[in-house]
């Protein structure tokens, strides 16, 4: 393997990792295919960081609620500023914002802010939050030129107008310009598995992550996901930094469990992703991740802050489930063959329909890989209402 480590991650069976989903599965009588083994090829010289996931505060999730953060579908910069400052201080226990940010970054770091523009313009990482994160990083001494806002598809970032909103000097990078552009990926770091007999069985990690960035601040949104159940810290980080990931779904099945967790466990991604700030100003409770339908997008007015992606996604899953229940939509754990459709238009207009059997068990599976805490009883969930 020539200075590379070839690791075969233990592939954990789906049913054994579900949180309360086992009986539903049995009742529905749906038998899901067994996931294939996933081989991980990562640099042998990667040194795990003490900040690596689950990070400095395993199991801790700070939830900030302020209904004024989103009014008439517009995010309020001043309200977000207060929410984020309070959240980062509460997470770290520091009394100053600069000291709180300094827990995660140093002036020598090259910091990537991993945004989620898929679903733009209706629901994507709010530029207002990104601007406040930039201020926080600068307060800790990170030079403007060392900050890069990035995601996978450049054209989705264009639609979100991130370039326009951000201060001059901040790098804005799309890893891929088009669906088949693989030039931005590191050929030496990948996950390999054959899910459905696809011709390309590898997914490569972005060179930006392996070679340029030293820290990553992950800024996912709160969304239902037709394949993964929900998409939050884990899904956005794994599927937004590796390529060739759509191959893990083929109607009606998805191998997002266990692929999402395995990807997030790959070094150096695991060590560099030191903080998650989840944008819950808007929540997509059906049709995620790409829906533009306003009836499925709820102005929740939330921010979640934490270092533990598993704990944060567990809280997100609870919130999406609650909203779906309120709206009369089936649980994301439900596996009803009658709900499956291959017609995207039907899925985007009917909350009882889905494209795949969702895999919300991917969160607990990631917990089993050591990425965080998925047991609600062990999660320190601090809820702060600001307005």
């Amino acid at each position: 393997m020539d200075r590379r480590t070839f690791v075969k991650r233990t592939c954990l069976g789906s049913a054994g990792l579900l949180l309360g989903g086992v009986s539903d599965l049995a009742a529905d009588g749906v038998v899901l295919p067994t996931p294939p083994p996933i081989d991980v090829h990562e640099p042998s010289d990667s040194k795990p960081s003490p900040l690596r996931m689950p990070g400095l505060y395993p199991g801790r999730v700070i939830e900030l609620l302020d209904s004024r953060s989103i009014v008439n579908n517009r995010v309020s910069q001043p309200v977000i500023s207060v929410m984020l400052e309070r959240g980062i201080k509460e997470l770290t226990g520091e009394t100053s914002s600069a000291a709180a940010w300094a827990k995660f970054v140093t002036p020598a770091d090259i910091v990537g802010i991993k945004i989620n523009p898929s679903g733009a313009p209706a629901c994507c990482s709010s530029p207002e939050i990104i601007k406040e994160i930039i201020k926080g990083l600068e307060s800790a001494g990170v030079p403007t030129r060392n900050i890069v806002v990035f995601d996978r598809y450049a054209y989705e970032m264009d639609i979100g107008s991130y370039q326009t909103h951000l201060p001059p000097g901040i790098g804005v990078v799309g890893i891929q310009e088009s669906k088949l552009d693989a030039s931005g990926y590191d050929p030496n770091v990948y996950c390999q598995a054959s899910f459905f007999g696809e011709w390309e069985t590898r997914s490569y990690l972005a060179s930006l992550v392996t070679q340029r960035l030293s820290k990553i601040i992950n800024v996912p949104t709160m969304k239902d996901h037709s394949a993964a159940g929900v998409t939050g810290c884990l899904k956005k980080l794994g599927y937004g930094t590796f390529n060739n990931v759509a191959r893990s779904h083929q109607s009606p099945y998805s191998f997002t469990e266990p692929l999402i967790g395995v990807m997030c466990s790959v070094e150096p991604l695991r060590s560099k992703a030191v903080l998650n700030i989840m944008d819950g100003t808007r929540q997509v409770w059906h049709g995620g991740p790409l829906t533009q339908a306003p009836q499925f997008i709820y102005p929740a007015g939330l921010l979640l802050v934490g270092t533990d992606p598993v704990a944060m996604d567990t809280i997100e899953l609870q919130a999406i489930e609650k909203k779906r229940q309120q709206e009369g939509a089936p649980s994301v754990w439900a596996r009803d063959p009658k709900s499956i459709t291959t017609d995207g238009r039907e899925f985007y207009h009917d909350s009882t329909k889905n494209l795949f059997y969702r895999q919300p068990g991917h969160i607990a599976a990631a917990g089993k890989l050591g990425l965080g805490v998925s047991d609600l009883k062990q999660i320190e969930h601090r809820q702060i209402a600001l307005g």
Binding site: N73, R74, Y155, D158, S161, H165, L166, P167, P168
Partner: protein, 356 residues
């Protein structure tokens, strides 16, 4: 409907009826469609592959279609055959829509430079430097080339040499292409403000704030400046002092740039609608859903409006009813070129089509 001469004294206008020298035909963003509407295309006369995805708009002069692809290559295609006459490789990506003036083509590059290239040979003439990527389309007037940069400045350089005449900071990234009038240029900034700058000195004449950043490029109709904002509003300003004459709230932000014809202004919204207003009053003439998200500028003529939103959609000017649709290529952010009976479009998957 009468065709208003909205840009007296513009130095850059097409020399032939079939020319299309910059974004939306000419520096006035008039759209350029002549009274006769182009019928629904039935075939691709040719299809050519560019070096990669294209998000800028093609331009055309003397039978040559110039297409700037994101990987940094400008192609000069013969419109009769679809064959490349020359290509120019820039050192960075290109998102900027080129402009033509005389024998040169001008465009911005992500390496922070603006290039002037000889349009007959593809050989470089000069380059001008900024400190940020240049996605804006250079605008030429009275011997100067005006462009904005992501470094937060607007620049004026000499047309012949590229030598800097002035630069003005706008306190925000500039992705809005300037409108150049006789004595002033108008442009939006990422800080959410619309500016009027003195063409000769770059000094700020007036500033009008909006509620969010500006991607849209302004158009001018008489004494009314027209531009969209990411704050969901479309603005009509008094060009003499920046006062808001009227504004209209859409469903989401506006990245698309407006096109004008007579008293009508048309723009696309990220909410997927195409909007048409009466310029003097701000009265909505029609509003039609033309895609899921519209970010490209429309092209407007006496009877028809064209918009790229995954394909080309043609709508009746008066009613907004869809006349025809041509679904080719992947999602498209650039604007079409209408010339004679042909429509030229470039797509996000790198294909260039000549439809007729």
């Amino acid at each position: 409907m009468k065709e208003t001469n909205i840009s007296p004294g513009m130095s850059e206008s097409p020399t032939a009826e079939t020319d299309w020298v910059t974004l939306l035909h000419d520096s006035a963003r008039s759209g350029g469609q002549k009274p006769q509407a182009v019928p629904a295309p039935v075939r691709a006369r040719w299809q050519a592959r560019s070096a990669g995805p294209v998000r800028s708009s093609p331009i055309l002069r003397d039978g040559i279609l110039y297409v700037a692809a994101i990987p940094g290559i400008v192609h000069a295609f013969n419109v009769e055959t679809g064959r490349a006459k020359w290509t120019f490789q820039a050192p960075g990506q290109i998102h900027s829509t080129p402009s033509l003036s005389g024998n040169r083509i001008f465009f911005g590059c992500d390496n922070g430079k603006v290039y002037a290239v000889e349009r007959d040979s593809g050989l470089p003439a000069w380059e001008a430097s900024t400190q940020g990527e240049v996605w804006t389309s250079p605008v030429i007037r009275n011997g100067l080339v005006f462009f904005g940069s992501a470094d937060g400045h607007v620049y004026a350089v000499e047309l012949d040499t590229g030598k800097e005449r002035w630069k003005q900071t706008l306190d925000g990234r500039v992705y809005s292409s300037a409108y150049a009038a006789e004595k002033a240029i108008y442009v939006g900034s990422g800080n959410g403000s619309i500016y009027a700058l003195d063409s000769a000195s770059g000094k700020i004449i007036w500033t009008t704030p909006t509620g969010n950043g500006i991607d849209s490029s302004p158009a001018l109709s008489g004494n009314t400046l027209l531009i969209g904002s990411e704050d969901f509003f479309f603005y009509a300003l008094d060009v003499s002092n920046g006062a808001v004459k009227w504004k209209y709230e859409t469903g989401l932000g506006i990245m698309s740039s407006p096109a004008v014809f007579g008293d009508l202004v048309v723009v696309g919204g990220k909410d997927g609608y195409l909007y048409a207003w009466e310029i003097p009053t701000g009265e909505l003439r029609w509003k039609v859903r033309a895609g899921q998200v519209i970010t490209s500028p429309p092209v407007i003529g006496e009877s028809v409006v064209y918009i790229q939103s995954g394909g080309v959609v043609a709508l009746d000017n008066v009613s907004g009813k869809i006349v025809w649709e041509a679904w080719v290529g992947s999602s498209v952010q650039s604007a079409p070129v209408i010339s004679g009976k042909s429509i030229y479009i470039a797509s996000n998957d790198g294909e260039v089509y000549a439809l007729e």
